[in-house]
């Protein structure tokens, strides 16, 4: 699992409240990603990071922000949660070694916005 820990694993929150999900890795990988998984849509990229303080938007970034102040942590924040953000969120890290690359995924965070 490349030492990836997502927290919390489950969360129920109310509409309009802020929520922060944490992805922690222990392998010092440069690249980290946040996805959401919804039925019929596969996994869609929210934001990704290619280094400390270096982040970029994915295809479904509206309503989300991210921060990466340390190599090991990539935080995803929902500034004001909405019901449409009810989803399962996956964090991934990408290893690059001698030109080869592979991504490893966390176990997911199930978020319910009521």
């Amino acid at each position: 699992d490349a030492g990836i820990t997502q927290s919390p694993r489950h969360k129920v929150t109310e509409t309009g409240t802020p929520v922060t999900l944490r992805c922690h890795q222990t392998e010092n990988h440069r690249y980290m990603y946040w996805y959401r998984q919804d039925p019929g849509h596969g996994l869609r990229l929210i934001h990704y990071s290619y280094g400390v303080k270096d982040t970029d938007k994915g295809e479904v970034s509206d309503g989300y922000s991210v921060s990466r102040s340390k190599t090991e942590d990539f935080l995803l924040t929902l500034e004001s949660a909405t019901s449409s953000q009810t989803s399962v969120y996956f964090c991934a890290v990408r290893q690059v070694l001698l030109g080869d690359t592979e991504a490893f995924f966390g176990q997911g965070t199930r978020l319910t916005v009521v």
């Binding site: 690249y31 596969g42 990229l45 970029d56 295809e59 996956f90 690359t101 991504a103 490893f104």
Partner: protein, 113 residues
């Protein structure tokens, strides 16, 4: 623009028969391509990957895939399906010189006894 398209959202096979999951990608240069599997209520596991070495790639659990640049395809196959292969499968592309990992929509495989 869609970078990767999985042509079948659902595939149903009988146990012991071949499995074919189709994936097409769009990229100007040879990308890196991956197949991941997700069993119900589980995380994602890498089956195999293509990163510009041999075009026929063998993965875990008897799966293999062939990179065909002329067809921009990376179809996943297995000669004989097992009940444990029932899961959702994702084709993933990493474009050359890019950092985004883009998923296809997924193919859910049902294996009938």
């Amino acid at each position: 623009a869609q970078s990767v398209t999985q042509l079948d959202s659902h595939v149903s096979v009988s146990e012991g028969t071949p499995v074919l999951l189709r994936c097409n990608y769009s990229s100007s240069y040879s990308p890196s391509l991956f197949w991941y599997v997700q069993h119900p209520n589980k995380g994602l596991q890498l089956l195999l990957k293509y990163t510009s070495a041999a075009t026929l790639v063998k993965g875990i659990n008897g799966f293999e895939a062939e990179f065909k640049k002329s067809e921009t395809s990376f179809h996943l196959t297995k000669p004989s399906a097992h009940m444990s292969d029932a899961a959702e499968y994702f084709c993933v592309v990493l474009k050359a010189a890019g950092n985004k990992l883009t998923f296809g929509g997924g193919t859910r495989v049902l294996v009938k006894p």
